[in-house]
Amino acid sequence: MNDPAPLRMTYREACKQAIRDALIRDPRCFVMGEDVGRYGGCYAVTKGLLDEFGPERIRDTPLAESVIAGAGIGAAIGGLRPIVEIMTCNFSLLALDQIMNNAATIPHMSGGQFAVPLVIRMATGGGRQLAAQHSHSLEGWYAHIPGLTVLAPGTVEDARYMLAAALEDPNPVLIFEHIVLYNAEGELDPAVAAVDIRSARVRRPGRDVSILTYGNSLPKSLAAAEQLAGEGIDAEVVDLRVLRPLDNATIFASVARTRRCIIVDEGWKSGSISAEISARLAEDLFFELDAPIRRICTREVPIPYAAHMEEAALPSTAQIVAAARELVRPQ
């Protein structure tokens, strides 16, 4: 076909289309979670799917995160391909026993007899004034757990195509969708019909400093790069995309080229995914670095409700710009 016009859609719509595709393509696929059906999903991602696919494949569950995750694990072991939705990662703490002690453990502990081809989607992040119990960013924290694949779509394209790749993965996959991105619009290249879930991606090439990031910090980082360009600082923005396993090759290649690195991450700073990346660089790229590694993370507090306080807690474009200046033009 002679290339059609690029398709514009929201991140939310992309998530929904991805689910629709999966349900159409694979009869073993079904969606299970709280309010995925009648309500259409707490962030309206699954709206309309109940009417289209019926209650056997769009399953509203009771409020019971542990059995929702656990039943997903059992169903995956039993031969289905569950797409489990835990409304937000804040509630996923109630399912952590199942995720760590069963999903991530059974394949190895059983000597490879059983795989857990399960996908769990959760909303993540702050920025909507939902306060401390609804604003966690736990994706980096989950990336600590061996056996899991952890994805953080930061673009409409990844929101649209990561799910299919996740369903191909024989391992349990967690997909963290950022609540602020749901309304973001983006273009889909009609020439692209799939994405991998192995690699990080350079979203903006640059020479002076590498900004490693993901999720809702990606747009902030790209905005910072634009601003820096005006000041003659050429920043490279790398979208991590896959938080476990991390794509060392792409990360190292970028930092080896720019010799300077800023990591931007919406998790709490101590023990963040940024810490892990920084540690890997300090281990393996030590002699290539010209400057200290900077981490820009969420302040180490429960996210407050008040707008100005929440803003003060989350990573900002201004912080990224300031850090880049400091690294590239040290006084």
Binding site: E34, R38, D60, L63, L94, A306, A307, A312
Partner: protein
């Protein structure tokens, strides 16, 4: 005064006034949400006022209260000023949680309101713990724990019920059964839709009452609290009710019909109480007008208080993430 309750005009008007205070306060909140003065989630208690008002009637200052994200009614009925509550929703420093909690997390040490908890079921274990402390430090004190019927699906609900029953702790479990958990109707969420039956599974006394009538709720709550204070352990109240509006601010409500909503609105606790008081001559039109005027003034004053409030200094962001001492 187990069960018996003298429903005179004083009590009748008081119950109406308290429910109306919540109703009018929340009506104002909707305006202010549209004006973007209030942000985040906003869960209205519209239609369920009789429960918080009725239960609080049975509580004393020494008692503790644990609520959910749908907590305006509980905070107001518990006696926290509308000013600090509204300021909290504005995110102001003068708010009852310093502007850090917002609508879902109203806290007040003075009245022992241990917060609106926004994790469904998350408040129950907490309530078991305060009751354990009270049983030793404040004999006779009761912890009233409010939650929706959706919480009955969570494991934390069952662990809490069992421990409270085993240790005979002074907890009043109040299930606000409004038949829906967001868009999930009770029938598809619970194998047994009579939530109070679950109390039996823990040998805990429990009953189901009309949550649309503050008098019925108060009578049941007094009976329950009396039993708890007498040392008989926890008590379970299932209050059948209905929320008149969306779950939070945005919600197409495709999961229920206009007719169903209409049927329940005929049982509006505020309207019915008001009509009944007028018809039975326990309240004159003048008295009603005076009550409404006073409440409107109170709401306006609360808004003014919130507007006049200040913003917490962002430099204080990390304050209290680690406490320097235990507040006494």
């Amino acid at each position: 005064m187990s069960g018996k309750l003298k429903l005179d005009s004083r009590l009748g008007q008081h119950l109406l006034r308290e429910m109306l205070r919540i109703r009018r306060f929340e009506a104002k909140c909707v305006e202010l949400y549209q004006a973007q003065k209030i942000r985040g989630f906003l869960h209205l208690y519209d239609g369920e006022e009789a429960i918080a008002v009725g239960v609080m009637q049975a509580l004393e200052a020494r008692d503790a209260v644990v609520a959910t994200y749908r907590d305006h009614g509980h905070a107001i009925a518990r006696g926290i000023g509308m000013g600090p509550i509204m300021a909290e929703m504005f995110g102001k420093l003068e708010g009852c949680s310093r502007g850090r909690g917002g609508s879902m997390h109203l806290f007040d040490r003075a009245t022992r309101l241990l917060g609106g908890n926004a994790i469904v079921g998350g408040g129950l274990p907490l309530a078991v713990g305060t009751a354990l402390a009270d049983s030793q430090l404040r004999p006779g004190a009761v912890t009233a724990c409010f939650f929706g019927e959706g919480a009955a699906g969570e494991g934390e609900f069952h662990e809490s019920m069992n421990l409270a029953a085993l240790w005979r702790l002074p907890v009043l479990f109040v299930c606000e059964n409004n038949l829906y958990a967001m868009g999930v109707p009770l029938e598809i969420a619970e194998a047994d839709t009579d939530i109070f039956h679950k109390a039996q599974a823990y040998r805990m006394p429990g009953e189901q009452v009309d949550g649309m009538n503050p008098v019925t709720v108060e009578v049941a709550a007094r009976r329950a609290v009396e039993s708890i204070r007498a040392g008989n352990g926890p008590y379970f109240l299932e209050c059948r009710t209905y929320r008149f509006r969306a779950h939070s601010m945005f919600d197409a409500q495709q999961y229920r019909t206009k007719e169903e909503i209409g049927r329940w609105k005929e049982r509006d606790p505020v309207a019915r109480m008001q009509a009944w008081l007028l018809e039975s001559h326990m309240m004159t039109g003048e008295e009603l007008a005076a009550i409404e005027a006073a409440i409107d003034a109170e709401v306006e004053a609360a808004v003014a208080f919130a507007e006049a409030g200040t913003w917490e200094d962002a430099a204080e962001l990390e304050r209290f993430v680690r406490m320097d001492e235990v507040p006494q």
